[in-house]
């Protein structure tokens, strides 16, 4: 072989040391991954503290208990609600008119709640009621769903401080869409159910009867029909959320 070619062949051998550097790179990535793992765990440690402090009440009477929702996350819910209002309008056009043609008490209430509701529930849920036509429906449905006028007997979660009131608003609206609140008698039923991580509603049980099987069944059926709600927010650590929901029927 020619002398020059021999030199070139010898020079063309690949440089060594790549395997070592690949190992180093792998190690560096592992360290970075470990760091990322550690930082959120510090955050996660802060979350339980929040949970002890924050108390979210699912419901509340139009007056005082709307305040519970407001404290938790009223401002954040505001941008959400307007987007949902039109959807509900479009999605269930049939559900609302009946609500508005309620007995005279509701019809009288219809003009009244609008000015009254604004100061009473200043933020959060109030934003959802921007449309006047929703007010009576809300007064009956949403208010009925989420509160009960009773002091200790309102709806509540098993978790003391749920992270995301916004989620609850969404969930309640979905349930409300399937709830037929117009009944011949008044009363209130307390139903307990679980929201699984993926949003399925399971273990729906009557916790306290209203005294009228029809009302109890309607309440449970609202949950059965809903079937699914959005998956639990990732900020919520447990794999299911137990909700005690109070359905209040007003004549």
């Amino acid at each position: 072989m020619e002398a020059v070619s021999r030199v070139l062949l010898e020079r063309a051998t690949p440089e060594r040391g790549l395997a070592r550097m690949l190992t180093a790179s792998l190690g560096a990535h592992a360290v970075l991954a470990a760091l990322i793992l550690l930082v959120p765990s510090a955050r996660g440690a802060r979350a339980p503290d929040l949970r002890d402090v924050m108390t979210i009440s699912l419901g509340g009477a139009p007056g005082p208990s709307a305040g519970g929702m407001t404290m938790a996350g009223g401002p954040a819910a505001r941008p959400v609600a307007p987007t949902e209002a039109p959807k509900r309008d479009a999605g269930r056009p049939a559900a609302k008119p009946p609500a508005m043609t309620l007995p005279s008490s509701a019809r009288i209430a219809r003009p009244a709640p609008k000015p009254a509701a604004a100061p009473a529930s200043p933020a959060g849920t109030a934003a959802g009621t921007g449309e006047a036509s929703l007010n009576p429906n809300r007064g009956l449905g949403f208010g009925g769903l989420s509160t009960g006028g009773g002091l200790g007997s309102g709806s509540y979660l098993d978790v003391k401080n749920f992270c995301c009131p916004d989620y609850l608003v969404t969930m309640l609206q979905l349930v409300q869409n399937n709830w037929n609140a117009r009944q011949q008698v008044g009363g209130e039923a307390l139903v307990v159910f679980r929201i699984q991580r993926d949003g399925r509603l399971t273990d729906i049980e009557l916790e306290r009867s209203s005294g009228f099987p029809a009302l109890d069944l309607t309440a449970q059926r609202a949950l059965f029909l809903t079937q699914r709600v959005p998956p639990l927010p990732s900020a919520f650590p447990d794999d299911h959320l137990t909700v005690h929901l109070r359905f209040e029927y007003r004549r």
């Binding site: 070139l8 020079r11 690949p14 440089e15 790549l18 550097m21 690949l22 959400v80 959807k87 927010p233």
Partner: protein
């Protein structure tokens, strides 16, 4: 609220909760990142040694008076591409001089100064060596270029896929609330973030290495011309 979801969940939760496609995308991006960082570290280490040895070798070359002296120290600077150029030129030179000595010696003439038969043959040997050395310097750089250009697209694919599935989720749940939309989109965006994480260092170091190789190529060309000049002066 979206911020709350993100804060509470953390990046790890987002990764763990993402779907199989997103996970596959993340694994691919991680592999790209590991390999490209391996190449980056290796090239950094290698090019630093190369430029150090090149500088030392040129020092030695300029101070010495005989090619044979320089040839003796080549082993010490074997990483430098200029050494490769020198060795090829020296091999061609000594072959020609040996042949000339034999031709001159056989007829029984008085042994004069040996001369080169063809200077352009030496030039060609230098060019060949330079090509080999450049190829060696540029080895694995295409991998960095590939990482730099395709990892953002892979990440984007993961994100688009995640947003698609999250919209399907919205459709099945029937709610457009931020609480429903935000987690899915946050999960999806992780893929783009990972793509950029892999691509940005690759782009930076690719340009860095290309500039370094260009510099070394210029050094080799310069050295080849210097070598030719010396050969022409002394052996023609």
């Amino acid at each position: 609220m979206a911020a709350n979801v993100f804060q509470g969940g953390g990046v790890v939760d987002l990764v763990l909760r993402s779907g199989p496609v997103a996970k596959l995308v993340l694994v691919i991006l991680l592999a790209f990142s590991v390999v490209s960082w391996g190449v980056i570290l290796h090239k950094l280490w290698y090019l630093r040694r190369v430029s150090r040895q090149t500088a030392s070798f040129r020092d030695v070359f300029r101070r010495s008076t005989k090619f044979s002296e320089v040839q003796a120290v080549c082993r010490a600077f074997s990483q430098s591409p200029v050494v490769g150029v020198f060795q090829a030129g020296y091999a061609e030179l000594s072959t020609q001089l040996k042949q000339a000595a034999q031709e001159m010696g056989s007829p029984g003439e008085a042994p004069g100064r040996p001369t080169l038969k063809s200077l352009s043959a030496v030039d060609r040997a230098l060019l060949r060596a330079a090509a080999v050395e450049v190829a060696k310097l540029e080895r694995r750089l295409p991998l960095l270029a590939t990482t730099a250009s395709i990892t953002p697209f892979i990440g984007l694919f993961g994100t688009v896929w995640g947003i698609m599935t999250s919209f399907q989720g919205i459709a099945s749940v029937g709610s457009t609330s931020l609480g429903v939309v935000a987690p899915g989109i946050a999960e999806a965006l992780i893929a783009t973030a990972a793509g950029l994480f892999a691509a940005i260092p690759a782009v930076y170091f690719y340009n860095h290495f290309v500039a370094a190789v260009k510099e070394l190529t210029a050094a080799m060309d310069d050295f080849a011309l210097e070598f030719l000049n010396i050969a022409e002066r002394n052996f023609t």
